[in-house]
Amino acid sequence: MQHGRLLKKLILLTLGMFAFAFALVPLYDVFCDVTGLNGKPSMEVAKQSESIAQSRQVDVSFTTHSQSQAPFKVDAVEHSVSVQPGKLTDVKFIAKNLSGSERVLQAIPSVSPGKAAKYLHKMACFCFDQQPMKGKEEVEFVLRFYVDTELPSDVEELTLSYTLFDITERVSKQDSDRLSMLAAREEFKYEP
């Protein structure tokens, strides 16, 4: 048929664009990573800084808020600290499960201004893991971080904001699978 070839190309183009919609998902993250847009900080453990900028002070503030009535309260003991870029700082957070039942907390960090996101390095953060908490339990979390010495000079203060999600239902769905998987692996060890 004379239309067959063109038709085939157009159908391929359609399928290609459908695939492209899904390719946008990783592309979006890559684009944000490369350009440092979006204020998305890394969720990986950072390496220690090699130098410390003695002559500079940067204010880092901490805020938290619960998403859609997640029953958690997490507060930084010090709401704001003044740090030298490159120097490791520990900040304590008191987290409380406000509900009477066991819930799983997931904190998602975000940095403002967005362009400072890639200059805030976390070496230990409760946001790296899902945090199961018993009913009414109170836990102390430690955030260990430093600000990169390369931080642009016009940034004098930055805010690290945590959004708290209740992911109990999502986890319990996957849990039954995971538990049976863990039981099968005998060498499993729990490292706090």
């Binding site: 004379q2 239309h3 063109l6 038709l7 157009l10 159908i11 183009l13 359609t14 399928l15 290609g16 664009m17 459908f18 492209f20 919609a21 899904f22 946008l24 998902v25 979006y28 350009t35 847009l37 979006n38 204020g39 998305k40 969720m43 998403q67 859609s68 997931q106 998602i108 967005g114 362009k115 959004t163 999600f165 992911i167 999502r170 769905k173 996957q174």
Partner: protein, 524 residues
């Protein structure tokens, strides 16, 4: 070969329901699309009436907020996917083969399918309104997490309906491209194509490029909601803002899908009633192509307030403003075509002139919205509502009305009731401005869109807007009357209905025979 041709030329339309169910004739399918679109226009319009009735006075009186949200959502979906897009596809089906001297669309059986899945899509969407919990209530843009975390389970019906609509438009677009590329009459070179055909060719490519992205977006919403993925859920490592990027990557080209064929219609009608050749044909083609290409790099101007970095806001602001250059070329070309023409004000021309003026108003408010710092004030207010209704109602819908009046005698073989049609035009023109113009002011004063109640200071303007809305809605019943009367009978129309009209469609008798150009015409 000649025997087959002979048999076909004597073949007339079969009778009864089966004619319409199994038809592969481009004229039948065009008629089905147009009647479907008119039905959807009335249903979507009825929902707008519910919205305007609720907003007639401050406070909540007629419907509860959840139902109000369903009305704004489904009104948008129906008007975009059910009224405007099928109307253009119907016009394409009817006119493109006749304009390029082809016997039919290239893929007639697919054509039948692409129409007949459409009623099912909208039946599913409308049915979901009557289910427990109601239909989609998250706005036609179905932003996550509204459509994922905070929606009810009927969202699955919405997703399925959108999938079917998308498949239908993609099939229609593929058909248009294959027809235009392969079936042009000998001698019909690219730069001799009527402008309506050119704009539709470019629109069809836009459809193929972005409808699959919409399908991807609704699929992600579906899996996020029902299958535990987290494309748009921050708690699972996704990003709700990414939804807006994916949606508007579809959404912005989509608005050009709804306006480029309109440009083609206006470029056909204005020369016919100015009795002059279209001014700047080539520049019109290039302007259409540039608008289509630019439409892929402006999407984030819908998202200025999402906390985008400065570099992004500047890029999308300038890219958006750049679109006004080719659009301006078009508007100036239309005006230059009319300049010193022997203009007569028949009904299609009245709608075309109204289009040029009112679409330009919508274009200017769009330019205002493109200014990033100003957009922070306008975002999600009635100013935006005013803007996109000027480009979609007095733009796209008026162009469809103009096209319907222009070709109705060719389709039915009868001249329509001119008096009634002029009455329809003037009532629509006045009421549409009473309806949408004050929205600019309440928007600038801070009235948010998609809210069933408002602060008292907006009460008078909203009453005026609602009165304009009811008047505009009722005026469209006149259009239905004109079309009905015209199908039933009327003065016999000649083959060349309008003395200044040009194009192959006027070389066949009125009504256009069931089969036209079974042997290709000669193009000089």
């Amino acid at each position: 070969m000649s025997a087959i041709v002979e048999e076909h030329s004597h073949h007339t339309a079969p009778k009864g329901l089966k004619r319409w169910l199994f038809t592969t004739n481009h004229k039948d399918i065009g008629t089905l699309y147009l009647l479907f679109s008119l039905t959807m226009f009335l249903i979507g319009g009825a929902m707008a009436m519910v919205i305007r009735a609720e907003l007639f006075q401050p406070g909540l009186q007629l419907v509860d907020p959840h139902f109000f949200n369903q009305m704004t959502t489904v009104h948008g979906l129906i008007m975009v996917f059910g009224a405007v897009m099928p109307a253009f596809t119907g016009l394409a089906n009817w006119m493109i083969p006749m304009m390029i001297g082809a016997p039919d669309m290239a893929l007639p059986r697919m054509n039948n399918w692409s129409f007949w899945i459409l009623p099912f899509a909208f039946a599913i969407l409308l049915m979901s309104l009557f289910l427990e919990g109601g239909g989609p209530a998250f706005g036609w843009t179905f932003y996550a997490p509204l459509s994922t975390t905070y929606s009810n389970d009927n969202t699955a019906f919405f997703v399925f309906a959108i999938h079917i609509m998308g498949i239908s438009s993609i099939m229609g677009a593929i058909n248009v491209i294959v027809t235009i590329v392969n079936l042009r009459a000998p001698g019909m070179t690219w730069m001799k194509l009527p402008l309506f055909v050119w704009t539709w060719l470019i629109t069809a490519f836009l459809l193929i490029a972005v409808m699959p992205v919409l399908a991807g977006a609704v699929t992600m919403v579906l899996t996020d909601k029902f299958f535990g993925t987290s494309f748009f859920d921050a708690a699972g490592g996704g990003d709700p803002v990414m939804f807006q990027h994916i949606f508007w990557f579809f959404g912005h080209p989509e608005v050009y899908i709804m306006i480029l064929p309109a440009f083609g219609i206006i470029s056909t009608i204005v020369p016919a009633f100015s009795r002059k050749k279209l001014f700047g044909y080539a520049s019109m083609v290039y302007a259409t192509a540039s608008i289509a290409l630019l439409s892929f790099v402006v999407w984030a101007h819908h998202m200025f307030t999402t906390g985008m970095p400065l570099a992004g806001e500047l890029f999308f602001m300038y890219a958006t403003m750049l679109i006004s250059v080719p659009t301006g070329v078009k508007v100036f070309n239309w005006v230059a075509t009319m300049w010193r023409g022997a203009i007569s004000f028949e009904v299609p021309m009245l709608f075309a002139i109204a289009f040029i003026v009112l679409f330009t108003i919508g274009g200017f408010s769009g330019l205002m919205l493109a200014i990033t710092p100003a957009d922070f004030q306008y975002h999600d207010t009635y100013f935006v509502v005013a803007h996109f209704h000027y480009v979609l109602v007095t733009g796209a819908v008026f162009s469809i009305m103009a096209a319907a009046y222009y070709w109705l005698p060719k389709w039915t073989g009868h001249m329509f009731d001119i008096k009634l049609a002029k009455f329809h035009f003037w009532l629509s023109l006045v009421s549409v401005n009473v309806l949408f113009f004050p929205m600019h002011f309440v928007g600038l004063a801070g009235m948010p869109r998609r809210i069933p109640d408002y602060a008292l200071q907006f009460a008078d303007f909203n009453a005026i807007i609602s009165i304009g809305g009811f008047a505009f809605g009722l005026s469209q019943l006149l259009f239905v009357a004109v079309v009905y009367k015209c199908i039933k009978g009327g003065e016999q129309a000649p083959g060349k209905v309008w003395d200044g009209a040009e194009g192959l469609e006027w070389k066949v008798p009125s009504p256009a025979p069931y089969h036209t150009f079974s042997t290709p015409p000669e193009i000089k």
